[in-house]
């Protein structure tokens, strides 16, 4: 990798774990119940900014959850089928997302919004879960969604 690593401000760790993945970014909140197919991990909410995208193995970056608390179980279903995000980075602690990540073993970090703003779609991200360290190893597209 020729690009220099981009180190972001330390994030708060809700669920630890070291992982890597491509960044998928939504500036809108996400509802997992009704908004994401529990079998495939496809975003199915009509009119959603990342509608049609698949969450599998992505580092999913979005502000916070919304909608039914049953969303936690959808994350579990994705993890069981191996189509869960590699990790989730939120701007704000959200009980639905946190519960879902804990029961599913999906690393979850809470990072300041200004930090999240520096991540671009398609960036290759590495997460050091225990320490709350987020590194951008490679840059994706320049255009932000």
């Amino acid at each position: 990798m020729t690009l220099r690593e981009l180190k972001l401000e330390r994030a708060k760790v809700v669920v630890g774990g070291m992982t890597e993945g491509e960044a998928l970014i939504s500036s809108q909140p996400i509802t997992f119940f009704g908004g994401v197919d529990p079998e495939t991990g496809e975003v199915v909410e009509e009119g959603h900014e990342i509608g049609g995208e698949r969450l599998s193995h992505k580092v999913l970056v979005f502000p916070h959850g919304k909608g039914s608390t049953v969303g936690s179980y959808v994350l579990y279903s994705l993890a069981k089928r191996g189509v869960a995000p590699a990790a989730i980075i939120n701007a704000r602690f959200d009980a639905i997302i946190a519960s879902g990540c804990i029961i599913s073993g999906i690393p979850l970090l809470i990072a300041p919004e200004r930090s999240l703003g520096r991540i671009r779609k398609g960036d290759k991200i590495r997460i050091y879960g225990r320490a709350g360290r987020i590194e951008v190893l490679g840059r994706g597209s320049r255009t932000r969604p």
Binding site: V14, V15, P38, H57, S68, T69, V70, S72, Y73, V74, Y76, S77, A79, K80, R81, G82, V83, A84, F93, D94, A95, I96, A98, S99, I102, I103, S104, G105
Partner: protein, 390 residues
């Protein structure tokens, strides 16, 4: 499905440790400094039509790990009667609903399938509990002065297993202080309009702890309808009602003097209109959202007198009260009048689809909201008396 998926499956094993981690994370996220011991838990997210296969898988995995609840734990209704199916609900739905109930039994919950746990277990003033189901939460906080936040199905489950809940919000007296004074200028109103009043309160003051003066009625079922509708329209976990609720004594001393809002009959009728869809004739009658108590079943039976329901009518309650109503002779009278008791389920019932019902009349403002928004039906809000004279 790829290979990493297959490897993940075997590693997912929710256990009591997972539930402890969950409680600890929720404590951190809520900013609570410590956990508080709870005396009972009530779990939502029990209906198959709500949690689907995803929820079943989690509950079965958790039950298989051998976890047991630490406190008395009750559960919300499902989407169908788990033993009898006289209305032709599809077999898979019933089978999956049974799997959910079985999982809860395994972990030691009392599978009441009721949304009114306070009918069986009345918490004491100041007792800490962890309840989900917004209408039960607001009833326990307001009517008993018990202390619970609005838990989700999964956080209540974690509290049941750990016996703890994060100590913040409704568990602290300082957050139970009323911060808005509302005056109500109405006479005695029926239960449908009491619900509409709740809906107005929830819509306008959902993010506050209101103090409400001027409510004239004292019947428990009207207060129950009011509170249920309020917590449907807004996120409020507690309302102090002068002359009605448990902590009204000190609430009266703490509430601001200034009257923020006055609610009159016109605003209530407006809410009734808003909650009801078009004026087409209702095709059915649904009573019991929240579940009917024995007292309410008695009220319906007395209101019926010699009248008969002239369209399909269903009364929703839990198995325990349904059984009692049968033993006491109410069910015979209800069936003779052309209605039926439905247990284990609530008005968000798989039977509605099986029977093809589209325009139910109900006396529940909360019910109207969900029939419309969760089931896509066209409900009408009217009292039991009006339902019998449609």
């Amino acid at each position: 499905m790829n290979e990493s998926g297959a490897s993940r499956v075997s590693t997912l094993k929710p256990s009591s440790e997972t539930m402890w981690r969950l409680i600890e994370a929720l404590r951190g996220g809520s900013g609570a400094r410590n956990l508080v011991a709870i005396r009972s838990a009530h779990i939502s997210g029990v209906s198959y039509s709500n949690i689907g296969i995803a929820g079943i898988e989690f509950l079965e995995d958790l039950a298989a790990s051998g976890v047991r609840v630490k406190v008395r734990t009750t559960v919300n209704p499902g989407c169908a009667d788990i033993y009898a199916n006289p209305y032709g609900i599809d077999g898979d739905t019933i089978k999956n609903q049974r799997r959910i109930v079985e999982s809860f039994r395994k972990i030691g919950a009392t599978t009441t399938l009721s949304c009114t746990p306070y009918e069986g277990h009345q918490p004491f003033l100041g007792e800490h509990i962890a309840w989900a189901e917004s209408s039960a939460v607001i009833f326990a906080n307001s009517m008993f002065g018990a202390r619970t936040n609005r838990e989700s199905g999964i956080s209540a489950l974690a509290s049941a297993v750990t016996g703890k809940s994060p100590n913040y919000g409704m568990h602290m007296r300082k957050d139970r202080v009323p911060n808005v004074r509302v005056e109500v200028d109405i006479g005695d109103i029926d239960e449908a309009r009491a619900g509409a009043l709740g809906y107005v309160l929830g819509t306008k003051f959902g993010s506050t702890i209101p103090f409400v003066k001027g409510v004239r009625f004292r019947e428990k079922h009207k207060v129950k309808g009011l509170l249920a509708a309020a917590s449907t329209a807004g996120p409020m976990p507690l309302i102090h009602i002068d002359g009605v609720t448990a902590e009204i004594g000190w609430a009266r001393r703490k509430v601001p003097e200034k009257v923020e809002h006055r609610i009159g009959m016109d605003e209530i009728e407006e809410a009734v209109e808003h909650l009801s869809c078009d004026s087409e004739e209702p095709d059915s009658i649904l009573l019991g959202c929240p579940h009917l108590s024995l007292e309410e079943i008695d009220l319906v039976v007395r209101e019926m007198g010699d009248r008969k329901f002239d369209r399909p009518a269903f009364l929703f309650t839990c198995r325990e009260i349904g059984r009692l109503a049968k033993d006491l002779g109410y069910v015979d009278k209800i069936e003779r009048a052309g209605a039926a008791i439905v247990v284990d389920s609530c008005i968000i019932w798989s039977g509605l689809k099986a029977l093809g019902l589209k325009r139910p009349a109900t006396n529940s403002a909360k019910g109207c909201f969900y029939l419309r928004n969760a089931m896509g039906l066209r409900p009408r809000l009217c009292s039991v008396r009006e339902c019998l004279r449609l």
